[in-house]
């Protein structure tokens, strides 16, 4: 016998009962919630409003230009472990961000970019592919291993990889991806033209070895020395590296200006006092100042390097051994500096992943007031620094005296910077008279064809091996500073021209509680100053004890001497106690400030609310009491009627 469905839904709902209807309602609500969200996750495009001041999650125009400039198709293979099981939310989130960003790149590349995902399982063919492409397995903080890398290929067998897309480099993700695509879209190895007096290629006649930094550069760039007078820079040179060009004739200077006007990039080491320039064998004095030579161009573009002063930073000072009163003493030499942490711009791709750099008697970069030029500091001193006249350290410096005479100006000094902006030629009226070639005169450009791509470093010594390499007993060289990485990073970014220069590493975590940092630093400086002051006094007392003891060596000590030594020792103890007390006082100021901040944040609102609550309760109680009294009702102490 056949049955028919109940035509009346109302009767069905009645039969279900109230509980059944409620259950269906709740179930429908849950299904609606899940269905909409799964649909949104799968189907909706990545529509996001970026509220960060630096637009951290929005692609820069540099990336868009790189993607628009792809002529031949580029394929990117995202190599990742199939299972990110056990890797922690940070890694999983980073892997998702990489995938999302690649998808965004694909959509902006007008069909010229293909994205494939290679899921790697243990002992699979995909793992062999990853290993062959030198994609390294990474280990997360919990110790779990995984693959997350990128293989890029172009139509001419060009092959580039990012061996690890690490969460620790998350803020440089856009730069890394755009760099790889840029290299595949323009497969030629960039050419770096080097000119200047610094003997980075070595000098056999004088027994000078080539600088080790050159080996690193050769891995990524073709290096071409530029010698003698140059009236025009070759068109196939991408970057000019000025390595302490102390003497530049007018033709070469003009050629550099025009190279920049045609969109060429420039990495300039302009040092007012190059310690790496070798002295002639006869010991004669040489010009070691490269600032006056290049200044006409720099000034016109809007930047300057101090010609008569170098930067001195008490916090970054390197310890040196000097002889004082016939004794070897180790002291801080303020003209030499080791710069790390906050002294290196965290948001710049060039310095963002570097740990420390060593510079020697570096010049100071400043702006000359051209509003078109922007100076982005890369290396800066701390606020505990000063401008030091070159005459104070030449010919032989006295580090102890320099330290004693040190007077901090309270403002950081810029030692290296990235320069950007549209600049004009330093030769607005055409080529100088020295240029006779009509072809060169005819090619004169008065304004730059693209924004300036320049990195200016007011030190040249950072290129020499002494500032970053340590030679071990077995002859092996071990770096102790990232000077070579800095140079390669700078060339790497410059080789992309202005497009890549715009692509700064934009990072999270750089905004600091500066007031608190400054207080901590001041306390530390004050604490150190007191320590030095007391240490000097203690040293004096110790030498007095020493002299008393040594004068009586071999003989019996008089009672007076013994008493005096005892007095001196107790003075030392008193001084040490005073030092500890003073240091405690200094630190206490910072601790008190943090306690006040904590107390204000935790208790200000609740206490205010408590007062409001008390006032409200009292007011209501009084109101009730008054109302009952008016009606003639006896009231209890709490305002209620008896």
């Amino acid at each position: 016998m056949m049955t028919t469905a109940d035509p009346n839904p109302a009767s069905l709902m009645t039969r279900l009962g109230r509980r059944g209807r409620a259950a269906i309602g709740v179930l429908l609500a849950a299904i609606f919630f899940l269905a909409i969200n799964i649909w949104a996750e799968i189907s909706l495009p990545n529509q996001r409003l970026d509220t960060t001041a630096e637009q951290l999650y929005t692609l820069t125009t540099g990336t868009k230009d790189v993607l628009a400039s792809i002529d031949e198709p580029v394929t990117l293979r995202l190599v990742r472990s199939r299972s990110l099981d056990g890797l922690g939310p940070q890694t999983v989130k980073h892997a998702q961000r990489v995938a999302e960003m690649l998808d965004l790149y694909r959509r902006l590349a007008n069909g010229k970019l293909r994205i494939e995902t290679v899921n790697v399982d243990p002992f699979s063919a995909a793992e062999d592919l990853a290993e062959a492409a030198r994609i390294s397995s990474q280990t997360n903080t919990a110790g779990a291993r995984f693959y997350l890398g990128l293989i890029g290929t172009n139509s001419t067998d060009g092959f580039e990889t990012i061996d690890r897309l690490s969460p620790t480099r998350a803020r440089f993700l856009e730069y890394d991806l755009s760099r790889l695509i840029h290299d595949l879209a323009t497969p030629r190895k960039p050419v770096v033209g080097v000119l200047g007096e610094l003997p980075i290629f070595g000098d056999r006649t004088r027994g000078l070895k080539a600088f080790t930094v050159l080996e690193g550069i050769r891995g990524f760039f073709e290096i071409r020395p530029i010698m003698g007078k140059v009236s025009a820079i070759d068109d196939d040179i991408d970057i000019i590296m000025l390595a302490q060009a102390v003497t530049l004739d007018p033709q070469t200077l003009y050629a550099i200006d025009q190279f920049v006007m045609r969109g060429g990039a420039i990495l300039a080491f302009v040092d007012p006092l190059s310690e790496a320039l070798p002295r002639p064998p006869d010991g004669a004095a040489i010009n070691r100042n490269a600032v006056p030579t290049i200044s006409p161009l720099l000034w016109h573009w809007g930047a300057a390097v101090s010609a008569t002063h170098v930067a001195a930073d008490r916090q970054a000072a390197i310890k040196v051994s000097v002889t004082q009163n016939g004794r070897q003493v180790v002291t801080d030499y303020v003209a030499w500096g080791e710069y790390s942490d906050r002294r290196l711009a965290a948001t710049e791709t060039i310095t963002g992943n570097l740990r420390r750099l060593q510079l020697r008697s570096s010049g100071i970069i400043s702006a000359t007031g051209n509003p078109a030029l922007t100076i982005h500091p890369l290396i800066s001193t701390s606020a505990d620094s000063m401008r030091l006249a070159i005459s104070a350290i030449e010919p032989v410096p006295n580090p102890i005296q320099l330290l004693a005479d040190f007077k901090a100006t309270g403002a950081p000094l810029v030692l290296a910077a990235r320069l950007s902006g549209i600049v004009t030629s330093a030769y607005p009226d055409g080529p100088p008279a020295e240029i006779a070639d009509p072809q060169i005169r005819g090619r004169h450009r008065a304004t730059a064809s693209s924004p300036l791509a320049m990195v200016l470093v007011a030190d040249s010594d950072l290129l020499s091996d002494q500032t970053w390499l340590e030679t071990r007993a077995d002859g092996g060289k071990v770096p102790f500073a990232n000077n070579a990485d800095f140079v390669i990073n700078a060339l790497d970014q410059l080789s992309g021209g202005a497009k890549m220069m715009d692509l700064r590493g934009r990072g999270v975590g750089e905004r600091r509680l500066t007031v608190l940092d400054d207080r901590n630093r001041q306390a530390e400086t004050a604490s150190r100053a007191r320590e030095a002051e007391f240490s000097q006094a203690i040293d004096q007392l110790r030498s007095k004890i020493e002299s008393r003891t040594s004068s009586r060596r071999g003989g019996a000590m008089s009672v007076e001497d013994a008493l005096e030594i005892e007095t001196l020792r107790s003075e030392i103890l008193t001084l040490r106690q005073q030092l500890r007390a003073r240091q405690f006082d200094v630190q206490k100021q910072v601790r008190d400030l943090t306690k006040q901040i904590q107390a204000a944040n935790i208790w200000a609102v609740p206490l205010s609310l408590g007062v409001i609550l008390l006032v409200l309760t009292t007011w209501r109680w009084l109101g009730r009491r008054r109302a009952l009294k008016l009606t003639g009702t006896a009231v209890q102490t709490d305002g209620r009627p008896v």
Binding site: R21, A30, L34, T51, R511
Partner: protein, 245 residues
Amino acid sequence: MIRNIAIITWRELVAYLTQPVAYVFIMAFTVLAAGLTFYAGGFLDRGSAELSVFFQFHPWLYLVLMPAIGMRLWAEEYRGGTIELLLTLPLSTSHAVVGKFLAAWIFAALALSLTFPIWLTVSLLGQPDHGVIASGYLGSWLLAGGFLAVSAAASAATHNQVIAFIFGITLCFLLLAGGAEMTQSLLRNWVDPAIAEGLANINAVARFRSFVDGLIDLRAIIFFVTLIASGLFASAALVRVRTGS
């Protein structure tokens, strides 16, 4: 309709603000939010002018505090018998549900806004990214709304406030647990890893996190809006059953 909802919202809001327990609630919330930030989060030791440390505790604070607000929304009305009086008024169950929820949500906004000293602190001691902080506050308020809607549904299911509270905490915990590594790991064992990764995003922590990072994601907005809508729909269904309306 809007007038009815506004009347209910106002009535409820006035009721909140005239009860000492509401002030105690706000005091507890502000003390816990700031205390966890400074002590458990080591806010000043980090020296960062970001409020991500402050916001990271909000899901866990709301896990307890939103069911505490939500538990009385309906359970108290059932127990005191005032539900009958409420429903004799010329308004529908849906109006009452939305009105009561809005009052609770505005009250939560008031509690959240009273954490302003932390924003003031980072502004005085550094140069924070105000856009990111505003986005974090918006995310926190939406999260509070989602948890409140779910807690309101839990309250509508029972006349016992304690049971409503425990039920509310359980539901909110489920919304949080979706983002936990353990849950995601379990999920990956059952479904394809790509689907598991997609599903991993459909949880309150992941959606809230994007606001804290300074990203207002359309999918995160949809998540919280649908969560609130579903919670209110379920509440209305349960209230109708309880009252026979």
